[in-house]
């Protein structure tokens, strides 16, 4: 039985835990900085104490590590809540934020920039902008194809998503094959990563994540009802078509934004909802808040490993998320079988 008190306690606990993970992770990397130092640097503007750290350490913490960790947390949150929402909407545990082809669309946009981009006036923001535009256009296209009258049948939506994703993936391969340059960069991008992302990326992502979190938290009951099908939800007084549009637009926007700043980080949107659900049960009133923090922590920790495993080089983040996520997920699936 659901108790709101449990949700509040769990959320508060997870919030603190997330902050601790972020703090610890900020100290870890090619050069290690102790958590105390990190904490001192972070609270410097309040405490105003005389620095006992080197200016180099301050730059690493404030301008290199912290923005990518904050960005990682925002992306983890965004992907996790999108996954939760789409699994409920499609009543399918296989659904993830990329299910409607956002990743393929965004990858196509990125490939175009990598292959032909040097010919244009190359701005720093060209890549994320193209990825964002392509990702969002894909969803829009899928949506238009699937729309019948004023309704969006969920199965048609899934199938048109699969078909259009396949098409874009083929075009992408074609460009990569014929363009024949920057292949490694493209590969690295499609496996996702936070390397070298500064505060400007955080400011791009932040409004999307905040809006997504507020919207999803407001829709927890509706998401619960949607698990039992659209018809059932309608009978409970939910404007189903409106809800579907809100969910699709919200997840499309925050996922496209996430992909545009970090590339395609696979597996997070699929497994975080499941892992959390195995612990909390499928009630969205606790599933959504818990996923917000679990998603953030997962990416922050995965990014930390991406930084240190083959330091000074970095692994693509997507490789880590799949490497740690998949076995853990399999373990949970085996140990709590039948309780999705």
């Amino acid at each position: 039985m659901y108790k709101r008190r449990n949700t509040i306690i769990a959320s508060a606990g997870l919030f603190v835990l997330t902050l601790i993970v972020m703090l610890f992770s900020t100290g870890v990397g090619e050069s290690n900085i102790s958590p105390q130092t990190v904490f001192a640097i972070l609270t410097d503007f309040i405490s105003g104490r005389t620095p006992f750290w080197t200016p180099g350490e301050e730059v690493i913490v404030m301008d290199i590590r912290l923005p990518r960790i904050v960005l990682g947390a925002l992306i983890g949150t965004s992907l996790a809540i999108s996954g939760v929402a789409l699994q409920s909407l499609f009543r399918n545990p296989m659904a993830d934020p990329y299910i409607l082809g956002i990743s393929n669309g965004a990858a196509l946009g990125a490939t175009i920039v990598f292959v032909y981009g040097s010919a244009w006036a190359f701005s720093f923001y060209t890549l994320p902008a193209m990825a964002f535009i392509f990702g969002l256009s894909t969803i829009f296209l899928v949506y238009r194809v699937a729309k019948v009258g004023n309704q969006i049948p969920v199965n048609t939506l899934l199938l048109s998503g699969i078909a259009i994703a396949a098409l874009f993936s083929a075009v992408n391969s074609f460009i990569m094959f014929t363009g024949g340059q920057n292949l490694q960069q493209i590969m690295f991008w499609t496996m996702g990563g936070l390397s070298g992302r500064g505060w400007d990326y955080v400011w791009i992502m932040l409004p999307f994540t905040i809006a997504g979190v507020i919207i999803m938290l407001s829709l927890t009951r509706q998401l619960n009802a949607m698990m039992f099908g659209e018809e059932s939800a309608q009978y409970l007084g939910i404007e189903v078509e409106k809800l579907k549009k809100i969910l699709l637009i919200t997840t499309a926007l925050i996922t496209s934004a996430a992909v545009s700043v970090s590339g395609i980080i696979g597996f997070v949107g699929l497994i975080i909802p499941h892992i959390v659900r195995l612990v909390t049960g499928p009630d969205h009133r606790i599933l959504i808040p818990a996923s917000i923090f679990a998603g953030a922590m997962f990416i922050v920790i995965a990014d930390m490993f991406a930084r240190i495993i083959i330091a000074p080089a970095e692994l693509p983040l997507g490789v880590i998320t799949a490497l740690c996520g998949a076995p853990f997920f399999l373990y949970l699936l085996r140990s709590k079988r039948g309780e999705l």
Binding site: R4, L217, S218, F228, S232, Q234, Y235
Partner: protein, 411 residues
């Protein structure tokens, strides 16, 4: 308070309509059953009434209010729907599932109120589902799930409860329990329920809406609508009517009608009793013969069938020896008939006259002896007289063993 369905037309495609022109009213504090053959649009009309499907034309009114003017939440406070089944891949607790019924009353971000909890517990109790409130929804059996779905519907505190074949997945005990539960609920709420089982509808519904081909064929009080001729019209089966021993509601036994029709308009008199001749009488009538029957004791199942199907009968008071007047009437009928059909029954001094009269016509008219149940030992309470005649008939008359053989003999 009522649901009024007025001139509702609906189709899943532009060209093809499932509902052509539906008109009926679901009255206050009554159980209204929707009955009709497969594919006649029962579920569709329920979805239209529930506001899930929008009719092409026509209106649905709740207490005089047009559904189009109500938003989803307002509608959810007026009516709750119990679907045939509910599926989710996630294991959701029963209590929280029933709490979903409170959705139309709750605001985003708000917690479940004390009143919500009280109503959910009450609903679980009323639906006899309190004992499994802590279980998971996807671990319940069919009967339990059905009750939980009803509990959720009750938690919506609706004026109207719409159910789509609530008994279809249940075993017989659960079916009866569920129908009893609905009767109890109907003291406070109006119930509109699609029912497959005609006898259940007859036993538990107050009103019936009989539909066929997207139209309402008949609506009204259950005993006025669920009659043999209406059932034959709508479902194309022969219905033998009898009274349920408990409550005396009409019940029916069904059989397929004969495939061929007689052109000759022959007059057939059937001598039978004990309910053994019911199907034969109805089949003959349906095949186009002019059927009479008797002598039958009043209250005999054959007698009830003849009465409900409008067949002319020579009758006698129950449990008494046939009088001479009655025997005379029987002979008159036999004289008028082209064919005499005798259906084997138990014989005592009470109905011995039937057997003896039949014997008298064996050589006068076309005579057929029907022995429907070979294993049935006809008990003879007449000191051997009946057995003697039976043996004679078995040897010398045309003997058939079932309705189909009888019909092929006559057609």
């Amino acid at each position: 308070m009522a649901i009024e369905v007025k001139n509702v037309r609906f189709g899943y495609s532009e060209s093809n309509d499932v509902l052509n022109d539906m008109n009926f009213t679901c009255h206050d504090n009554r159980v209204t059953g929707i009955i009709g053959p497969n594919g006649c649009g029962k579920t569709t009309v329920l979805k239209v009434i529930a506001g899930y499907l929008r009719p092409k034309s026509g209106t649905v009114l709740y207490n005089g209010r047009h559904t189009e003017t109500l938003n989803s939440a307002e509608l959810a406070k007026l009516r709750a729907v119990v679907e045939q089944s509910v599926y989710t891949p996630f294991s959701f607790p029963v209590y929280d599932y029933v709490m979903l019924g409170r959705t139309p009353y709750q605001k985003n971000f708000s917690a479940d109120s004390e009143e919500d909890h009280r109503i959910v517990t009450e609903s679980l109790k009323n639906a006899n589902a309190l004992s499994f409130q802590t279980r998971k929804i996807n671990e319940l059996s069919g009967g339990e799930l059905q009750r939980v779905m009803i509990a959720r519907a009750l938690a919506q505190e609706p004026d109207f409860l719409l159910l789509d074949e609530p008994t279809s997945h249940l075993d017989i005990r659960h079916q009866l329990e569920l129908m009893k539960l609905l009767s109890e609920i109907s003291r406070e709420k109006s119930i509109l329920c699609i029912i497959h089982e005609i006898n259940q509808a007859s036993a538990y519904c107050d009103d019936i809406v009989l539909t066929k081909g997207g139209y309402v064929l008949k609506e009204g009080n259950v005993s006025d609508v669920l009659k043999t001729d209406n059932i034959e019209d709508v479902f194309g089966v022969l219905a033998m009517q009898f009274k349920h021993p408990q409550g005396g509601k009409n019940q029916f036994i069904f059989s397929l009608p004969p495939e061929n029709k007689s052109e000759k308009k022959l007059r057939v008199h059937v001598i039978t009793g004990e309910g053994r001749g019911r199907q034969i009488i109805l089949s003959l009538k349906s095949a186009g013969f002019l059927v009479t029957a008797g002598i039958l004791n009043i209250g005999d199942q054959d007698y009830d069938t003849c009465m409900s199907s409008g067949i002319e009968v020579v009758s006698a008071p129950p449990f008494s020896r046939y009088s001479d007047t009655e025997i005379l009437k029987l002979k008159k009928m036999c004289d008028c008939a082209d064919v005499i059909v005798f259906v084997a029954t138990n014989i005592g001094f009470g109905n011995l006259a039937n057997l003896e009269t039949a014997l008298g016509y064996m050589n006068k008219k076309e005579f057929i002896f029907v022995n429907t149940d070979i294993n049935f030992k006809k008990s003879d309470m007449t000191n051997g007289r009946a057995t003697e005649i039976y043996n004679h008939m078995a040897k010398n008359a045309k003997v058939v063993f079932n309705v189909d053989e009888l019909l092929s003999e006559l057609l």
